[in-house]
Amino acid sequence: MNSQILDQLKREKILDLLKTGKRIDGRSLDEQRPLIIETGVIPKANGSARVKLGNTEIITGVKIQPDKPFPDLGDKGILICTAEILPLADPNAEPGPPNEEVIELARVVDRGIRETEMIDLHKLVLIENKSVIGMFIDSSVIDSGGNLFDACSYASVAGILSCTVPKWEIKDEAPVLVEGVTSKPPIKTLPVSVTMARIGDYIIVDPTKDEESCMDARITITTNSDGNICAVQKGGSDGFTAEQLIQCSETALTVGRKIRKQFETLM
């Protein structure tokens, strides 16, 4: 069946339900799907997490290793979040270099964690301008069921929280691993990403794949523990009114608080 016609019918059905305040899977409009977080799933990594958000499932691994600082950022460690949609996660995903969607996904996840200043990068310096600690937070989508932005962000945050950071000492200007000594990463705040979709006049939290296929526009808002708004990304081929966006920012704060509590249990 023509997928465009299918999406159209789906949209009609979803909109009919939304008019009665309901969603296809029974959730209310501002309700997230159940979030299940398991950490330590990849023992060979320095930190890791497996996250299920409804039908979406992510595995994140964190590798921590000495690195050279970026030029002009010699007083900071390195933090890089990536994301990949594995071809087994989605019938439409293709192996090969990342397309624009995957690049956006990775950059939005990275930005949420970077702009909230979750990690105190100044504490990851071994010798200023010469040697720092690098944290690579790689997320793989293994089942794609909508709202990859939040799911990858949660898995990345959980992976970081689960980390044990090895200790390096400097000998002859080179970092040498100190066996058996580890510490927790220097966490300053807990970022929570909340993604909402607009379908018609309705804003729904944590859209499923079906809802995404017929949404008008999307917005991802990341807040920190102090209730600040730190990163926003609008997507999708239509827009929002200013009022809708302010409503979204409030929803992001409210929903974010629940997720943050779940994160706190991991610390």
């Binding site: 624009e100 909230t116 200043e117």
Partner: protein
């Protein structure tokens, strides 16, 4: 910034940098525009509607919109590798999605409209300036549109919300929020934020940016009129 809100380049908190837009600057493109927005110097060229290559990307029910935002090697302080960076690919995507609501694609099934943006010199807010030029270039190409798209950033610098953050302010600023608006339909089609804003500041910042978008719209409108109506008036 001074205590009474005079910024490093002499502007007031709610003041835009100088903007000038020229329409129809390219001979090969179906539509084009050149914008100077502060120190940003950006060209946009539009081709289409035209056949899609490769063909399997065509949509039998609608035209498609493609967008490339690209920075010249000499546009920034350190020479930039000409291959598109991940940042440029992301910006291409958000610009495309910011323009798409304004473009009536349904009438041109199986075709593509290509928007090519070249940043010749980059300053703070280059994605907004690029969008402003691109929207004008689409109009110049005769593409049917529901509205223009007008973009402008606001941000937080030295604890104050300011309009249209420039490069120096961005470097040490606390937040940067690029916004695009369809000014007649009142829809925000691009919104990004890097930084840290309290909920109240978020609202103020967005409202400030929207005021900027509307002022940009006047500049876009005037530029189009200058090209299409001899005496600058309808």
């Amino acid at each position: 910034m001074t205590e009474d809100g005079i910024r490093c380049d002499g502007r007031r908190l709610d003041e835009l940098r100088n903007i000038s837009i020229k329409v129809g600057v390219l001979k090969n493109a179906d539509g084009s525009a050149y914008i100077e927005f502060g120190k940003n110097k950006i060209l946009a060229g539009v081709f289409g509607p035209r056949d899609v290559h490769p063909k399997h990307m065509a949509n039998p029910d609608s035209g498609i919109l493609r967008c490339r935002y690209h920075m010249s090697p000499f546009s920034v302080t350190e020479r930039k590798n000409p291959a598109p960076s991940r940042r440029e690919i992301e910006i291409s995507k958000v610009i495309k999605e910011a323009l798409q609501p304004a473009v009536i694609l349904k009438d041109y099934p199986r075709t593509v409209i290509d928007v090519f943006i070249e940043v010749l010199q980059a300053d703070g807010g280059s994605r907004c300036a690029a969008l402003d030029a691109a929207a004008v270039a689409l109009a110049d190409a005769g593409i049917p549109m529901r509205d223009l798209v007008s973009a402008c950033a606001a941000g937080k610098v030295a604890d104050r919300i300011v309009l249209d953050v420039n490069n120096e302010e961005d470097q040490e600023g606390q937040a940067d929020m690029p916004v695009a608006l369809m000014p007649n339909l009142g829809k925000v089609t691009l919104l990004q934020l890097d930084g840290m804003l309290k909920p109240e500041e978020f609202k103020t910042c967005m409202q400030t940016a929207l005021v900027g978008c509307k002022r940009v719209y006047e500049v876009q409108r005037k530029a189009l009129m200058e090209k299409y109506f001899q005496n600058g008036e309808q």
